[in-house]
Symmetry: C2
Subunit: 377 residues, 2 copies
């Protein structure tokens, strides 16, 4: 799996990751497609957002419709008709957050499905096998996402088991051109553990390195501190992926620290609940002040939602519980995220990332558009 750094600006990198299903411009945001669908969007809508790579969830797909079934139907790309690259997580995080009756030991994880109560085993080897059945371009190692808060001793024990699992995943992984396996750095908020984990993974050798166990309640400051402690220990010639992050400001801060890839449910999940992202921060479209506002969510946005629909209409759709509301807001939010990533890539190319970050922060702090002068509606 080829990765090329094309430009740098401080610690930030503008690169290109080449997968079996095409190239990805980095820094990249991966839309979350949990159950073989980016919720509410058709494939042309995903493409139109500027999304080049999506994330599938092993936990959900192994339970329904099943990895073997997806393999018989030609793999996840064919199954959902997504032509581009796919990264799948290992299932470990969802087992911890969604499954019932889970037990974890050196072998792996045993858990009960949240869907039908059936028992399942997930070992490092099975996690890799499932992702191979799914035909994931990027396979993630099985790890334990250390909870927060946790003691340093517990974080160390958990991280070291994850490192042993990472080695077993490397052994189990079937090497193919354009397909890659990423290791995951753990160690909680403890810099020494993070460095130990990064070194252990680099020693095993992976196609990319993820920073896991963040965005679990530690806050932005602690998260960026972990990146400061971790990223310098990661191999410079391989992509770096910050898992499950985050808000727009998190992405900017992490890109400034050398992160190349992200995934997060925020743009899609927020879109379904009425929260919109804009250059001036977030707004809730259900708020009554939008009910006769003929302006788009974000007048500077080039997405189809902003080009064709008013806040008043979106407000109505959400108040009336019409599914088109979540669809149109998801279209906007994902476009916003991808436009931000494109802006970040452009700023790195131009060597102006610090300026961009400052302008971004002051625009976000402005708050939503003021009411139109003289509008008595």
């Amino acid at each position: 799996m080829n990765f090329e750094v094309l430009h740098t600006d401080g610690a930030a990198r503008r690169g290109c990751l080449t997968t079996a299903h095409g190239p990805v411009a980095t820094p990249a945001f991966m839309a979350v497609g949990t159950a073989a669908t980016v919720k509410g969007l058709t494939v042309p809508q995903i493409v139109a957002s500027g999304t080049e790579i999506i994330l599938g969830n092993t936990y959900h797909l192994m339970l329904r419709p099943g990895a073997e079934r997806i393999a018989r139907l030609g793999g996840l790309h064919a199954f959902m008709n997504w032509p581009g690259p796919i990264l799948t997580d290992s299932g470990g995080y969802q087992v911890m957050s969604l499954a019932a009756l889970r037990t974890i030991d050196e072998t792996g994880v045993t858990f009960t499905s949240h869907l039908d109560g059936a028992r399942h085993d997930l070992s490092p080897e099975r996690a890799v096998e499932i992702q191979d059945l799914l035909d994931a371009d990027i396979t993630m190692v099985l790890d334990e996402c250390t909870p927060f808060p946790v003691s340093e001793a517990e974080a160390a024990e958990s991280m070291r088991r994850s490192m042993r699992w990472a080695e077993r995943c490397k052994t189990a992984f079937r090497v193919r051109p354009g397909y890659g396996l990423f290791g995951i750095v753990q160690g909680g908020v403890f810099p020494e553990l993070r460095r130990e984990s990064a070194a252990a993974l680099a020693e095993i050798g992976f196609d990319g390195y993820a920073v896991g166990g963040l965005a679990v309640g530690e806050g932005q400051e602690a998260m960026l501190a972990v990146l400061d402690a971790t990223v310098p220990s990661l191999p410079a010639d391989r992509p770096r992926y910050l898992m499950g992050v985050g808000k727009p400001a998190d992405l900017v801060g992490a890109v400034q620290r050398g992160i190349d890839m992200f995934d997060c449910v925020l743009p899609t999940r927020s879109g379904r609940t009425g929260q919109a992202f804009t250059r001036r921060g977030t707004l809730n479209i259900r708020n009554a002040r939008h009910q006769e506002d003929a302006r788009p969510i974000d007048p500077e946005c080039a997405c189809t939602t902003c080009a064709t629909h008013s806040r008043a209409y979106l407000h109505h759709l959400f108040r009336a519980d019409e599914m088109l509301g979540p669809i149109l807001l998801t279209v906007h939010n994902l476009y916003y995220y991808q436009a931000l990533m494109a802006d970040l890539r452009g700023a790195i190319e131009a060597g102006s990332l610090a300026d961009f970050a400052a302008t971004f922060a002051s625009a976000q702090a402005q708050g939503d558009l003021p009411p139109i002068e003289g509008n008595t509606l």
Copy 2:
């Protein structure tokens, strides 16, 4: 409002209705856009289905977001960004079926909103005013949709009041080029009452004539018998609209009897619950036999859903309660309906409607595709 009959085949007509927002090829199927949205579809998806005209529901829109608000936002076309023609119903039918505490007298209807319990009055004059505020290309008169079953005396009394209301609507209607007012024939399943109603409306004079009070449980045979009794009494130079109908076979039978326009929630509502329409009848995509079927819903269908997604994938989406399932199936069903209307128009032009209807009926009777030979999945 111009209407031209271009071809006939028996009682069937191939025509063109010209509205303020563009032409409509008839016989036409109007997609139902109750609350200023065809549920689950973006405007480009509605256009791609072949839909030329949509229906909005006065009852829903007057309650939320309100007719005056839509008028301040530029009318219903601007509000939902639908560039084509819109027909609005009068609200009468939904008042009867959805509102609580309704009372009806010569003045009109008083009812309590199902949303917030607020009291509302709907008179013939107010129904026309609301539709004018919405900027409907086609306004429907306020009528009472006579329930089924009902005695002939009750049907007569109800129908005659609707005729008096129709005259008041005609008086209240603001005449503008490209905008029209349709009368509605009532009279239950009683041929004499239907003929009396049709004659009364023709005497008042409308831009089009609807047949109302059907598809309320009387069955296809009784419905077609009402058309046989009614359509010959309607002015030949004006469009005829069968309200709230129906299944594909109903459309074929009604077109053969000279109906030019239809609306029905079936393609969209069925799409949300997993029922798909095909040339070989209906199927329920939730059925387990589709779970590894890589074929499209209908191999002869040219919609984007059939071009890009398998039954197995759609089955998965519905089983996983993913909103993309209803979206993709609504896309297919509405396309199916519009393709059927295009086929009907082509058959009338070719003078082969009887042959088309016979071929249609035998294909529908076939049932779903057999499993693929040797497919052990």
